[in-house]
């Protein structure tokens, strides 16, 4: 980013190639709608481009990028009249989701098909998570951020993120129990 700030256009292309997929998927999973994801994704990269002149490496680039993305997403939710909140702690069974991922088909033909089905089941389970828990999962997986970095992006404490991730993992595990 510093190289791009210094006028190196190729540096941005390398940066873009590295982060285009993760950022796009972050929006796609959070919005659930490709059109909205496209709009938010493009808007965030435009902000990155315009903010390059004043960019200071106070944090990892990924942290900076996903903080912009998080802020843009929060604006989007507010505009849409949604205010994501942390759900109350679930029961012992952790089954507070309305969505049930597809169960494995009996006698799956081969291993490849099974993996695809398992992946689809995980994405469906992820989609059923509360937004803030899903966001913590996505920031960790797509952004490769640590607990502290995710907490910094979301503007909450480290323990809060840890709690969100623990609930998310428990729910995913519960939804995919039938795939073991």
């Amino acid at each position: 980013m510093l190289a791009y700030r210094g006028g190196d256009g190729a540096a941005f292309e390398a940066l873009y190639a590295r982060w285009r997929g993760p950022l796009y998927r972050y929006f796609l999973r959070q919005c659930g709608h490709a059109g909205q994801a496209d709009e938010l994704y493009q808007d965030v990269f435009m902000r990155v481009i315009h903010a390059a002149a004043g960019y200071e490496p106070t944090a990892k680039f990924a942290t900076w990028l996903f903080r912009i993305a998080h802020n843009r997403l929060v604006d989007h939710w507010r505009k849409a009249g949604r205010d994501p909140v942390d759900p109350p702690p679930s029961g012992e069974d952790g089954d507070d989701c309305e969505f049930d991922p597809p169960a494995p088909e009996g006698g799956a033909p081969d291993r490849e098909a099974e993996r695809k089905q398992l992946g689809a089941a995980l994405l469906a389970a992820l989609n059923s998570l509360p937004e803030l828990q899903r966001e913590a999962f996505l920031l960790a997986e797509e952004g490769g951020l640590t607990l502290e970095e995710v907490a910094s992006v979301c503007g909450v404490g480290r323990e809060t993120i840890k709690s969100r991730l623990r609930y998310a993992t428990e729910k995913l595990r519960h939804k995919l129990e039938s795939w073991r």
Binding site: F12, R20, G21, I49, A120, L122, L123, E142, K162, L172
Partner: protein
């Protein structure tokens, strides 16, 4: 991250492969290239490219011009600032001797001197080459203890009279020998020669005509060179010319410490 099940992480990565449309990629990369091109255009502006060197050169020229101007207007003052250390190099005993040999203010302030306290500021330097020698100090005493850099005119006359008794005596003699009003002319001439505040005052046109050569001499010759000429005239036995030159010198440089041997 330990909070995420590694199995979930692996399955997610395998299943998650969506990417943005190519049109979005093109639009973003195009915007990024345009953003990079903007500062380049600014950098290529001739004005911006030459602004820093031009400013540096202008500053340099201005600084040198001011320095030359100051040097030209006050050559003697700036040159003789180096005399100050001489005083500090004197041994304490020498300094004591010099100070003790100074006449008391009451002695040096002759009536003639007190009658014209408005003697202009001595912008000409004070120089006493003999002052560093203790043996000669009583004769040549004044310079080291006297202020060198132009003091205020009101303060100069008494101070100069105290510090330069020989000069005071010479002035006294000069004023006695001069016709009435000569003192005023002398002051005007001194002002003129030194470029003082009274230089522009049209006090006496006749005196101005008479003092024109003096002014020229003062600007053309340094006081040291002038005194050397006077000394040469003395050696050649041309005492009358030497006395005239000395009188002119006194008018041009009223506060200058003339060596004792030239005053005899």
């Amino acid at each position: 991250m330990s909070e995420i099940d590694s199995r979930h992480s692996r399955i997610y990565r395998e299943a998650s492969s969506e990417e943005p449309p190519a049109a979005l990629d093109a639009a973003i990369l195009d915007a990024a290239r345009k953003q990079v091109a903007k500062p380049e255009r600014h950098a290529r502006s001739p004005w911006l490219r030459w602004m820093a060197p031009a400013s540096a050169i202008a500053t340099l020229v201005l600084g040198v011009s001011i320095a030359l101007l100051v040097e030209r207007e006050q050559p003697e003052t700036t040159r003789d600032m180096s005399i100050h250390p001489i005083r500090s190099l004197q041994s304490p005993s020498t300094a004591r001797t010099t100070e003790s040999d100074l006449p008391k203010p009451a002695d040096s302030l002759a009536p003639e001197m007190t009658a014209k306290p408005e003697v202009p500021a001595p912008t000409a330097p004070l120089r006493a080459p003999t002052a560093t020698s203790p043996a000669q100090a009583p004769a040549a005493l004044p310079a080291p203890a006297a202020p060198v850099l132009a003091p205020r005119p009101a303060e100069v006359a008494p101070a100069a009279a105290q510090a330069f008794p020989a000069e005071s005596r010479a002035k006294a003699v000069e004023s006695k020998l001069s016709a009435p009003g000569a003192a005023a002319e002398s002051n005007a001439a001194a002002d003129s020669a030194l470029g003082g505040p009274g230089a522009a005052a049209p006090a006496a046109p006749a005196a101005a005509v008479r003092l024109a050569p003096l002014r020229q001499q003062a600007t053309q010759r340094s006081p040291e060179a002038w005194l050397a000429d006077i000394s040469r005239l003395r050696r050649e036995g041309r005492d009358k010319e030497a006395a005239e030159q000395l009188a002119e010198f006194r008018i041009a440089y009223p506060a200058y410490a003339v060596p004792e041997n030239l005053l005899k």
